[in-house]
Every structure is written in C-alpha cells, then in structure tokens.
C-alpha cells in the first residue's frame, strides 16, 4: 500500500481516478489548485487504486493523503 500525498497546501480541482482503477507510475491522479496554479499529483508507482480520500473542492494540507494505491 502506498499513500500518494499532497506536496503542498491547496484545494482539489479535479480527481481523475476512482477506487478500482489501474494506474501506472507517473499518471495524473489528482489536480490540485494552489497559489492560483494547477498542480498535478502524479502516481509514484503502478498499481490499483484502493481509495480516494478527497473530493473536488476539499482543502488539503501539505502531507495529507489523497489516494491510496496497492
């Protein structure tokens, strides 16, 4: 299990995967908005998404988990 965490504080702009999806390393999982910029959050490994813990519009602090991959 690998937790993909937010690298900076911001809000969730777009969630591009859901539980059960197969993802590859480097794939965009979530797009955050921070400092008026779009910040893509990429998967650090290939695997299956086991859960997505944030919704569009949620505030996320640095280091919070966005997606879990197994």
């Amino acid at each position: 299990m690998k937790s993909i965490k937010s690298e900076m504080a911001g809000t969730v702009l777009e969630v591009k995967v859901e539980a059960g999806d197969t993802v590859t390393q480097g794939q965009e999982l979530v797009i955050m908005e921070s400092m008026k910029m779009e910040v893509p959050v990429l998967s650090t490994q290939s695997g299956k998404v086991s859960s997505v813990s944030k919704n569009v519009g949620d505030f996320v602090n640095e280091g919070e988990t966005l997606v879990e991959i197994e």
Partner: protein
C-alpha cells in the same frame, strides 16, 4: 630490515587483503584506484606517502594526498583509504589533510575530497582532536578556502560525526548511492541516546541527503559515475576566484528556440516542463543540473551558451506550480553564491507565482529563506540576465532577479506578465467588501470586468513602454539575444575585489 622498495610497495598496497575484499564486495574501489581515475594519466605526485610507514598497520596513515591534473589543470586531492583502520583519522592523517589544504591555497587550485572514513581514531584523540593543528583546523581551512578555490567532495563511504562536516563545507557533494552516508550519530548511538530505531540508509543515506536534507548534490550509481560527473562539474568552473572559465566549442541547442512557444500551455495556470525550455536555449547536452532531486520546484545548474559557462536558476512549473518554498529558496541562494564566487554569469528563467503562503510555511521561516535568496541575488556581482518566460508575481520577481537588482537586462518573452500578484487574488484584495455584497451573478460579471481592467494595467507592452523591462524578445530570438547580451556584459565582468565565501546550505 626492509629495503626501500619493500617499504614502498607495502605502503602502496594499503590495508589488509581482508579489508580490500570487504570493499570489493560492497563495490568500493581502492583509494589509489579512485585517484588514478580522477587524474590525467601519470600526472599524480604524492606527498606524505611514508606517513607512519614504520607502523605496518598504518600505510600512509590512511589518507592519500597530492596533486594531479584534470583536463590539463592542476588539482589537489585528499583520499581516505578505508582499507586502513576504516579510513579513520590519526595525527598524521589530520596533518596531511591540513597540508594539502594549505597547498591548494598556495597554488590557488581546486581541491577534491574523496571521503570514506569512520571518523576520529579514538585511541589517538589527544594527538588529533583538540589542538590548534588538529581536526578542527580542517573545517576552518575549508571555510577559509570557500569561494577561493572550488572544493569538491566525492562521498564514497561514511563521513561520520565530526567527519560529516567535510562534505558540508564543500561547494558540492557527489554521493555514491548505497555506500555514501553522512550522520552525526550512528543508528546504534541514536538508539542508545534517544531511543530511536532507524537504519543507516534512512537516517544518513545518499538518497535521503540528495532529496530531503539537501546535504548532497548528485546521487550517483557508481564511483566511476561520481568521478566522471565531478570532472564535468569542474569543467564549468575556473581554477580559483581570480581566474576565468575555459570556453568550449559552441554547439546548437537540442531544440529550436522557436519551440518555446509551443511548450507553453494555452492556459496560464497549466504546468509544463521547464527543462524543455532550457533545451531550446543552451548548447546541446550542456545542462548539468545541481541538486536535481532536492526542492524540485526550482532548477539550478551549469550550462554552456555559445561555449561559455553560465549558471541557470529556473522555476519549474511542473512541480508545486513553480512556487518558491523554504528549500528552493535555500537551494537558489546557495547556487547563486557559487556562481558569484567563481564569476560565472547567471541566467534566471522566471515563471513564478510567488513565495508559498499559509501558516505551515510561515512557521518554517519562509521569510528568512526568501530573504536569503534575495540577499544572494542582490550580492551577486556577475553578469545577470532575468528572462521572464510566463509570469513573475510578487516577491518572486525580486527573487528571480527583477529590475531592481543591478540586473544587466530584464527580458520578457511575448508570453510574459509581471505583477504584484495574479489578477484574481489582486481583485479580491482590492474589492473584498464590495464582492461580499454582490449576488453570485453580479459577482461573476464584476470579477470579469475587473480582471480585464487589471490585465490591461499589467499589459506587457505597457511594462516595456514604461521601461520596466528592457526588451521584449521573440521566442525564436531567445538564444541569440542571450548570447549577444552575455557577450556584451562580459566587458563589465565585475571581478570581485576579495573572495566571496559560500555559506553552507
């Protein structure tokens, strides 16, 4: 009685076969082999080879020191021999290191530290630890040499406790992944003293130091790779603070500068890879990124422009929106200081939304780190060009060498914009009360109107018209414009009147 040649060959062999085998198993080269790989063939001259030679256990007292040539330039070296008492420091070891530092100062030549050492020999501590010409002097000398001659560390094994400060005071540290480590207290000591259970790799390994702590600059897969990279690094630098860099043959860039236009996304908030922009500007394959794995929202590195050595500081929109954080501000400040110390012109590629805000980053001391970066920018006396690629907002403009910083030229691409902040937050700040009173529909209309007004106010042609930026450069002209300008500004190469020491990270 041993003959001279027997003594010499015994010393040249280093430590016991068992220790050599142990090193081979962990893919470590013999210290003398490392020195061979570093220098041009048959150029090495050694001092202190016979240090402690009467003691069969201590050939060269565990460190090799001397002079050699790299690409024809004289360079000094010290190399720990980990087959001798794990490369630990005795009295002669310390004296030899101090002497090679003094030699580097006398000859004003670069100094390489090939580190692989367990630290002080506790049995010899009174002879090597506390006194005037003991271990503390090594660090004092590193600080004294800082900014006078390049000091380059290749970390091939441990640098433990006090020894960890050898890399910390160097300009740059190449770490061999798997073998290199830096730590003040070993995992065993951490468990004993503070109760923490942690592995050496987690606490002081090369990956950690190159990506988290910032103590390492280059993560290398092998010793050979580290040596090659370190030589390449040196090729961008002069031998000392008063001499000039050596130009190489100009090579066309990997990509056509006109491609910059297509790299930039239509949406001003969308991310893109700044390295691709760099490929459109500098000589092909010449960008040597420094601290590639650390604070990735900002790129630093040396490159060649028309064969000339330059330093690049560039925002990286692909990571964290290119926003400046504590780590990236420190990384930039340090790199700028290195370029300044060795008279290497600086190119800033700006696409920066500003410094990070929020309670977390304020607690980390964002303002302190930002001040450090702006301090380095202000103090740098080398030719400086700031090229605004897309946006330069707020103090980000200052940090990326905006017009107020004795910048030789602030150039803008047609895609550029400069402002205290982006349109939306600016309008929210000015009309906050009014916006609160409006219903959603009116609010949207109001925002749109004001954004248009705001964008007119910060219009690029207006900024050029008011002489805030010096020139607007077409995408395809980017490289030739920079070449011509750096060439012109080199006339005013503001040589430092005294050395500029480089502060540790």
């Amino acid at each position: 009685m041993e003959t001279f040649s027997e003594v010499k060959s015994r010393v040249l062999k280093g430590g016991s076969q068992k220790n050599h085998d142990k090193n081979t198993q962990s893919k470590k080269l013999f210290a003398r082999k490392r020195v061979d790989l570093l220098f041009d063939k048959d150029t090495f001259i050694e001092d202190g080879m016979f240090a402690n030679c009467k003691d069969a256990e201590l050939p060269a007292d565990g460190v090799i020191t001397g002079l050699g040539k790299i690409a024809g330039r004289v360079v000094a070296v010290m190399a720990n021999d980990s087959t001798v008492k794990a490369g630990s420091w005795g009295a002669r070891t310390v004296e030899k290191i101090i002497r090679i530092q003094e030699t580097a100062e006398r000859l004003m030549c670069p100094l390489f530290y090939l580190v692989d050492s367990a630290g002080a020999r506790l049995t010899d501590q009174v002879e090597m630890f506390p006194g005037r010409r003991h271990a503390g002097r090594i660090f004092r000398n590193e600080v004294h040499l800082s900014g006078r001659v390049p000091q380059i560390c290749l970390l091939f094994g441990p640098s433990a406790a006090g020894g960890a400060y050898i890399p910390a005071f160097c300009d740059v540290v190449f770490m061999n992944d798997g073998n290199a480590s830096m730590y003040l207290g070993s995992p065993r000591m951490a468990e004993m003293v503070i109760g923490e259970k942690v592995t050496l790799e987690e606490m002081g390994g090369a990956k950690m130091h190159c990506s988290v702590s910032g103590c390492g600059d280059f993560l290398c897969a092998s010793e050979e790779e580290a040596i090659e990279k370190a030589k390449k690094y040196l090729s961008y630098l002069p031998s000392n603070w008063t001499s000039s860099t050596v130009a190489s043959k100009s090579i066309n860039p990997e990509k056509n500068p006109s491609e910059i236009k297509t790299i930039l996304p239509e949406s001003p908030t969308r991310a893109y890879e700044m390295r691709t922009v760099i490929k459109c500007i500098v000589d092909k394959d010449s960008f040597l990124e420094v601290k590639e794995l650390y604070a990735k929202e900002l790129l630093t590195g040396f490159a060649r422009l028309n064969g000339q050595s330059i330093g690049i500081v560039a925002n990286q929109p692909l990571v964290k929106g290119g926003v400046l954080f504590v780590e990236s501000a420190n990384k930039a400040a340090r790199f700028i200081q290195i370029c300044n110390a060795y008279s290497i012109p600086l190119l800033f590629l700006a696409d920066v939304p500003g410094f990070m805000i929020g309670s977390k980053i304020e607690k980390e001391g964002m303002i302190r780190a930002g001040a450090k970066m702006i301090h380095a920018v202000s103090s740098a006396r080398v030719p400086k060009i700031s090229l605004i690629i897309r946006k330069a907002f707020g103090a980000g403009l200052y940090a990326m060498c905006g017009p107020s910083y004795d910048t030789d030229a602030v150039l803008a691409l047609p895609s550029a914009s400069i402002a205290v902040m982006g349109p939306e937050p600016a309008i929210n700040a000015v009309y906050f009360n009014k916006i609160q009173e409006l219903n959603p529909e009116d609010k949207k209309k109001f925002m749109q109107e004001k954004i248009e007004e705001y964008n007119k106010d910060i219009d690029l042609y207006r900024l050029a018209g008011e002489l805030i930026i010096d020139h607007i450069v077409d995408f395809e002209e980017t490289r030739t414009e920079l070449i011509k300008r750096f060439d012109a500004y080199s006339l005013a190469a503001r040589k430092l009147s005294s050395p500029a020491p480089i502060l540790p990270m």
